[in-house]
Assembly symmetry: C2
Homo-oligomer: 352 residues x 2
């Protein structure tokens, strides 16, 4: 099977008129990696998979939505796009815009964007503007600017983003031959939980799957507006990709939670970082800190006895690649040992 | 189709006795991305694709070989593995070893390993030892140590690495329905050109393809031992992944060149960086600097009129993801513009 990206693959489910406008980097088709470690930890009778969205072309799940948003912008004749971003959206917007021959502008909150994301946005050719404010401020500006200037908005408020992102559900169902019983993921701007749920419902409506999963969303404790029931003015978390105080898809996320009989809970930074390190050192899977929030959540549920009487398949979405945030990895994992170029020194450092 | 990694996918071609020993992160199945930019630049009558190996689980082509090397080590009952590396091999060894429940030791040359690679190796749980020497020194140590201690060597000198890496050719042929006419790639330790050629020959012998491609390998000008015909004592290049003075697979690489009627040439750091930036800003594809050596090479050939009378399909392998080396991206692409959180300031910076 040759893969030509999610719009070609799932064209009947995508709101695009004509294939000639498709702008693709062959996104999607990401691996579903078995987690023997989590199966052991969670007990119960679970089969556990990691859907590693970090293996999209720009290194995060945002590519699924961006191929749709930029293809629609191209269809509409746009010459430039703009977005506010904590980094992943910026990189995706910049890459797809460049491929489409459009200019891109990304507005990011100063000092809170991981190095890999910033580097990528710049090299893809975006004009990157850092403001001395937070993500929610940046979102206000880009909404204003896109309304008054000839620049297409490709933020989550762009409805086509979620249309593209729902392809993640299709891939999971196609790979498993059914929907999983449980679907865990991080919740930041809340577009992803909304999109996955929309995807499961679309496949269910089409008769492709018989059941839909229980959606288990997890926010960072310092940035948990949906859990607390009100916006958070100054969100704080090590998981920069979900450091969002007023999610764009708040209501859709609550609907996904309620319609699926699931939950949106929160996990601490310590729980997030512990899950992040375990995934790398036990399963060999390196994701960014925010990506581990879903896994941190299912581990928290284990401590509450949640999984004891459960069985079936659990899919945890890892939203971005660990290489997006190398500084954090080094902070968590420590430094290498430096020795002179002598055999004895190397052997001593190895401490066999 | 569900993808379970390259050994499952191409089991008849892989030297493993039993599937139960397979250690996989679902590597391979990387996208073949059309490069409309290169098609325009190269002229002739070419269809050009980028085989983006940065979309393997640890972000480089090394995962293809490492799944084989670690699976064989597991089959043999190994408890620990060691390698010398400029970074990509280290990350792959660490990830697969962790997944297999083995210890891993990686010896790297001090100061010449990209941030993303170092961070990944550490977080995957490897013991990383930096020596005040170069890659070739590191390789001597690990050979010595693996001969005298109970630690399996998973460097390129491990013959199973090339067996796994040859799967890249299989995927290209399966996607195109034939072998490409031209295959361009960077040459550092020279395992990859050897492996791709071995893969094409294996598919040809099996009757899967009728023709094999012309192999076009490119070394960095400051690290071009095969081009010069002698080892380079102090290799120098911005492309750290191919900064190797005495390649392990030298003879196999020359055989691939000669048997395919191809060439191994060199490109300057300026040519490499220009190609690196063009791929990101024109095609939306972000690779590491070394990965762009193959593309730099085909652009150099264009200036020499090489492509004028050529037609067919050209595949350029991009060996690793740009996120592996974020510092270099920022160095090449510049810094973001910082402004106060005010609409007018943002608009002025945008300069529409």
């Amino acid at each position: 099977m040759v893969w030509h990206g999610i719009i070609h693959q799932y064209f009947p489910y995508m709101p695009l008129e004509d294939k000639q406008h498709i702008v693709t980097l062959n996104e999607g088709n990401t691996p579903l990696i078995r987690s023997l470690y989590l199966e052991k930890q969670l007990g119960g009778n679970l089969e556990v998979y990691l859907k590693h969205e970090g293996m999209n072309p720009t290194g995060s799940f945002k590519d699924r939505g961006m191929t749709m948003a930029i293809s629609k912008a191209k269809e509409a004749g746009a010459k430039a796009v703009i977005c506010a971003s904590t980094g992943n959206t910026a990189a995706a917007a910049a890459a797809y815009a460049s491929r489409a021959g459009m200019k891109s502008f990304v507005i990011i909150p100063e000092g809170n964007v991981a190095l890999g994301k910033l580097a990528a946005s710049l090299i893809y050719g975006a004009k990157v503007i850092q403001i001395s404010g937070n993500f929610d401020d940046a979102l206000c500006f880009v909404r204003d600017i896109s309304e008054s200037h000839p620049v297409s908005l490709v933020n989550s408020v762009n409805p086509y983003r979620i249309e593209g992102q729902k392809s993640g559900s299709f891939e999971i169902c196609d790979a498993l031959g059914k929907a999983p019983e449980f679907h865990a993921l991080p919740v930041g701007n809340a577009g992803n939980i909304s999109a996955y749920w929309k995807g499961y419902k679309a496949y269910h409506d089409a008769g492709k799957i018989e059941q839909t999963p229980m959606m288990l969303g997890f926010q960072a404790a310092g940035a948990a507006p949906i859990v607390h029931g009100h916006p958070i003015e100054n969100p704080e978390t090590v998981a920069t990709a979900i450091k969002i105080g007023n999610p764009a898809s708040w209501q859709m996320a609550e609907a996904a939670r309620d319609d699926s009989g699931g939950m949106i809970d929160m996990v601490t930074d310590d729980e997030i970082l512990a899950a992040y390190k375990l995934l790398a050192s036990k399963d060999g899977v390196f994701c960014e800190p925010a990506s581990a929030a879903g896994v941190a959540g299912v581990l928290k549920l284990e401590q509450q006895g949640f999984w004891k009487d459960k069985s079936g398949t659990l899919v945890c979405v890892l939203t971005g690649h660990g290489l997006k945030d190398p500084d954090n990895a080094i902070k968590q994992a420590g430094q290498p040992i430096s020795v002179p170029a002598e055999l004895d020194a190397v052997l001593e450092a190895m401490d066999l």
